[in-house]
Symmetry: C2
Subunit: 358 residues, 2 copies
């Protein structure tokens, strides 16, 4: 399935079978793919300050719930290393400032808070300053490694339910670029493809930030998986033609009731899949589950209206108009066929099966 | 409801209560608003050759089923005037060449063929060369005038079913810019607003050509009607919030079974409206009805993949990928609450009520 074409990568050639490394730690720096530059250029950016990591998360240099979590943990590592604190309490104070700044970047993805909380717990459990810093860095590195192995397990679990010759629709980007390296929804498709299953993918553009055309298309092209790009307006039409056999998407947060928060447009893709009797799957590692919140507790981030007003140098709408630009929506459990995790595929009724698996 | 702000129009000021004149005939020329330049600039273009009109229809300088019909009729007038034919048969031959060229521009809108056929009938019914030419021009001018009065009647009929304080969702552009001057779906909203009803509109962007953000937003702003723009991905989400009370869209073709061909995305808006128990109306003058074709007969135009690949100077997707870019979809009658025409509102069962009204 994999083609081994060359791709320009800052002058070096890239092996298409190799994972895209979205976010990593090297020489006390965070190195990320700048996703705002894709698909035109594959550029890596380096950060030494946690404030720059926070800004990068806000600007969508890095996005995707699992990738944001690890990026934020690396941000905490930068904060720890650069702290001039002379005792545990003042280091914890510095870490708390970084925690608040990083947590404020994106309100909906649960992995962000999960990762930040993990780091604070590790910090609090040590007493020696150097030991605190070391264990924070080690812990963020472990998170990155675990993200990869978790996604590979998740991919294996999900690939079992992909049939040979399936045409699978996906929305937004839940691939390498949404995680540290392997991907969740796209990880399932990569695993199925690596098992030798012959699959085709239909990717939606995913307005307004175009994660489908910019990122998913870039990844599927990179990994040599056969796909077509469609506008978000063609989802119903292509489903009504009978072409689509399965839908698989990622998640930014899964509640214990089985409600799934994901990129705006996911809910309508799920509702349309239901109408056409197409199985709808969510791929979500357990770090995406929020077992305490109710639907009424979750804030759906609204993003800047400029995402709808302009594209490059092109004005898309008259200046000064009102815009509604929610980043996420919620898909109710009755529209979801199964939730694929690294611990197995969770099936309805979700209250029961989620509480059983955790 | 109407604000009377000034708008830059090539140096002159524009009265916001005045109709936007999408396509008109003046001094043996066709004058159109160049809709590819909106919303950045309101620019008028003039054509003296039918070939240029055909190219303008293909390039979406003019679009919207009723506007295309009248533009094509004006194109036939240009062909008649510029013909060097010395007798009826050779003029008819010249007209047939123009007919074929103009008909080839957009395969789905039925008004185009309807208008072209009308002109050919008029031409055939005369014998004197000058009389043929005069009656073609007169007939195309009548079509333009009739389009306005038809849409005004349609607007009045539709406005009756709009309630005070309704929030109405519309997809694509079925306004002044889709007709000669008044609009179909947006004509209904203008009429309701002129009756003093307090309404709010939610307009979808309508990828890939953005007729919603570029044209509908421009018009609603021009006519001073309160509205918000949303991405196509937020339709399901905003409906699930309970905000939307009604949906109204235009049509490119209505079959006698009540199947409606309209801009890609219409079908899924209708399916989502059904799921949320929101009445879904189609506004379509009788020239949009095709009483002879079946669903299997209608060709859905596929447009160039570049519409998804680029926006202004910005590359949206990796070069060389596969794209599926259908311009229209079909909404089945069971999703449609009513079809608003200049002859009244048609209700299900459509086979019966459509055959009764024609």
């Amino acid at each position: 399935m994999l083609r081994h074409k060359k791709l320009k990568d800052r002058g070096k050639s890239v092996n298409r079978s190799k994972d895209l490394l979205t976010v990593r730690w090297e020489n006390n720096q965070v190195i990320m793919i700048d996703q705002t530059k894709l698909p035109a250029k594959l550029v890596y950016v380096k950060y030494r300050k946690y404030e720059d990591v926070a800004r990068a998360i806000e600007r969508l240099v890095v996005r995707g719930a699992p990738a944001i979590g690890v990026a934020a943990a690396f941000g905490m590592s930068l904060a720890a290393i650069s702290s001039k604190a002379k005792n545990k309490n003042s280091l914890l104070k510095d870490l708390k400032i970084a925690y608040e700044r990083l947590r404020s970047t994106r309100p909906t993805a649960v992995n962000l808070v999960w990762a930040l909380d993990q780091i604070m717990k590790v910090a609090s459990s040590k007493n020696d300053l150097e030991e605190m810093k070391k264990s924070i860095v080690l812990s963020s590195l472990n998170m990155a490694t675990e993200d990869i192995s978790t996604n590979k397990k998740l991919g294996q679990n999900g690939a079992e339910m992909i049939h040979n010759h399936d045409v699978i629709l996906t929305h937004c980007n839940a691939g390498s670029l949404a995680t540290v390296a392997y991907g969740t929804a796209l990880g399932v498709l990569r695993a199925a493809s690596d098992m030798g299953k012959n699959i085709r993918v239909v990717a939606t553009e995913t307005r307004p930030v175009m994660q489908g055309s910019r990122l998913t298309a870039f990844e599927l092209d990179h990994y040599g998986i056969d796909f077509s790009l469609i506008p978000d307006t063609a989802v119903g039409h292509i489903m009504s033609s009978g072409l689509i056999k399965r839908v698989i998407v990622g998640a930014d947060r899964v509640l214990k009731t089985g409600h799934v928060y994901n990129k705006i447009g996911t809910y309508q893709v799920a509702a349309l899949a239901k109408r056409h009797d197409i199985p709808f799957y969510v791929a979500a590692p357990s770090s995406t589950f929020d077992l305490t919140s109710k639907v009424s507790d979750v804030i759906i981030e609204e993003r800047n209206k400029n995402e709808l007003m302009k594209m490059g140098n092109k004005l898309l709408a008259p200046r000064g108009i009102k815009v509604f630009n929610p980043a996420f929506d919620v898909t109710p459990p009755e529209l979801i066929t199964g939730i694929i995790t690294e611990k197995g595929i969770i099936k309805p009724p979700y209250e029961d099966s989620i509480s059983k698996i955790f």
